[in-house]
Symmetry: C2
């Protein structure tokens, strides 16, 4: 059975989903849905229609899983519950603090539509969450550390761009190497916010803007920068376009802990990602979970799930026998 995938939203993530589907023999892209004028969008996949989201209900029987590629701030809180009534869906909702509320809304919608929804797929939340869960269960007596970067933080870049006089900006979150090394050594350090990450900012100014004032405003901005060691580099628009257009990211999850009758043995669990393209890797995780969602739905399940609720074998196109023979 080929699993028919729909994509809603053709930005960086939607394009990553499109590319990822072509590497999977058991999946096919059925349609791309957009809020824009469909004729304004040219996609890479051959022979796949681009459809206005206002016609999406007509596709209820032609799509096995709809992948929602909108943003977590305003798109997904509305879209995922709305479309989970009609389709099996996967999203990458990543506002950690609002996950319980989002889960509850999506669960009610998916149950009412007898569909399966999986929220918060990606790498954090997603793969990092899985490692945190497994590692917590294995080492109950231990401590978690998550480091992000080096990579672009969209939220911090946006915050800089809101400062008057700033034309463009990119903010890199950088894990502090000494902190990573201390954690890796198993010494269980207590680390302040400032000790874990640096913030590295590349800023293009509007003509006539005062660099000292802008730098001061960035470095003292509460929540975003005030608690961090922040470096501000002023660059030209050309330099910005040339050196700061990439979407690389990554990070580290550690759990360090001890076992033994007297906690005499130390252990370090480390997981890391080094990603050339954050949206394409996120898309690849989502696509694997879309396969799982199609299977759970075919079994007659319904309701909201997260990566914690899905047995890993559901992600693979291989049979249980093949997995046991080759990957166990």
């Amino acid at each position: 059975m080929t699993i028919r995938i729909g994509i809603l939203g053709y930005g960086n993530l939607g394009r990553g989903i499109e590319a990822s589907i072509q590497t999977c023999d058991d999946l096919e892209l059925a349609a791309v849905f957009t809020r824009r004028d469909p004729s304004s969008i040219s996609i890479k996949a051959k022979g796949v229609p681009v459809v206005s989201v206002s016609d999406i209900a007509l596709w209820a029987d032609k799509i096995d899983v709809l992948i929602l590629c909108g943003g977590s701030a305003t798109d997904l809180p509305a879209q995922t519950p709305e479309f989970a009534k009609l389709f099996n869906v996967v999203d990458s909702f990543d506002t950690h603090a609002k996950i319980p509320e989002h889960f509850s809304n999506v669960d009610a919608a998916a149950r009412s539509g007898k569909k399966v929804a999986l929220i918060s797929a990606g790498w954090d939340p997603g793969m990092f969450s899985l490692i945190r869960l497994y590692a917590n269960c294995i080492l109950p007596n231990g401590k978690d550390y998550t480091f992000w970067g080096k990579g672009v933080s969209q939220g911090h870049s946006d915050a800089i761009r809101r400062i008057p006089g700033v034309k463009n900006a990119k903010q890199y979150t950088v894990p502090v190497q000494d902190a990573v090394d201390a954690v890796r050594s198993g010494s269980n350090p207590e680390l302040s916010t400032r000790q874990k990450h640096l913030r590295d900012c590349y800023v293009v100014l509007e003509q006539g803007a005062d660099p000292e004032r802008v730098e001061q405003q960035i470095k003292t901005m509460p929540n975003y920068f005030a608690d961090y060691d922040t470096t501000v580099h002023f660059i030209t628009e050309d330099e910005f376009a040339k050196n700061h257009s990439g979407l690389a990211h990554g990070g580290f999850v550690f759990r360090t802990g001890s076992t033994g009758w007297n906690n005499e043995h130390k252990h370090v669990i480390e997981f890391s990602l080094k990603l050339d393209s954050n949206p394409e890797f996120t898309a690849s995780v989502i696509v694997a979970y879309a396969r799982a969602v199609a299977r759970l739905s075919a079994e007659g399940q319904s309701g909201c799930r997260t990566v914690f609720d899905v047995a890993p074998a559901y992600l693979s196109p291989l049979s249980g026998e093949q997995l046991r023979a080759h990957l166990l």
Copy 2:
């Protein structure tokens, strides 16, 4: 509900299980079963009976999960199917090539007894297998690498001890740093057996044995050493006892691959373990899966499972709500 655990076999692994259970509020050790004379065994847990394995059937209603701590060569192929008829069981069967056969035998037994059995829990097979599976599903276009060590290989140590003139021996498997670095860089190297691991041997000779002959016999031993760069150190029995009695181990799993319409973006997924005590960490994984097995059984499931078949949330004592709020 407290989950009542039985341990069969009180060696390094059984003692690790005993220590791990004491860190889990929802688990209790109900009994330790042994093939030896129970009066010859003194365990650490207070008030827990040591029982002859010949009386184990009397405990069918007093134990929720029986953990089998025997070896993969001869114990588990017989024990796991035998006891899966009477108990929910977990084992750490680690002969990769024989997993399909073992699975099939255990599955038939567990179904006949309406019990749940989980085989091959630990870190490899186990955690490393999980990472291989997740990483393969996310990066279908990629390459796997597993490195073991630095740590003791029991099989290789035994092979050295069988050489005439050898009194005692320990063999460390050591990953080659250049190979690990090349994989970590994302360069997708082709690595021969010799390029991936070194073998480091510490040998105590019988009086009068010829070191040159023993070293030659080790280095030319087919399968075990001939394909590796092997170093042999002759040491005294005192030095052996002092420096080579530890059970540390660890290793690395990598998957490197690419995404994008033209595979233009590279990604590196890395997972590593650094373990002071191989048996205690293995025990900690097994205990988490014992919790999962008790729950699957309470749901009315039966048959054989592996780590691939168990949704991660089943491993945790926390509720779905707690997991989503704190670990996702």
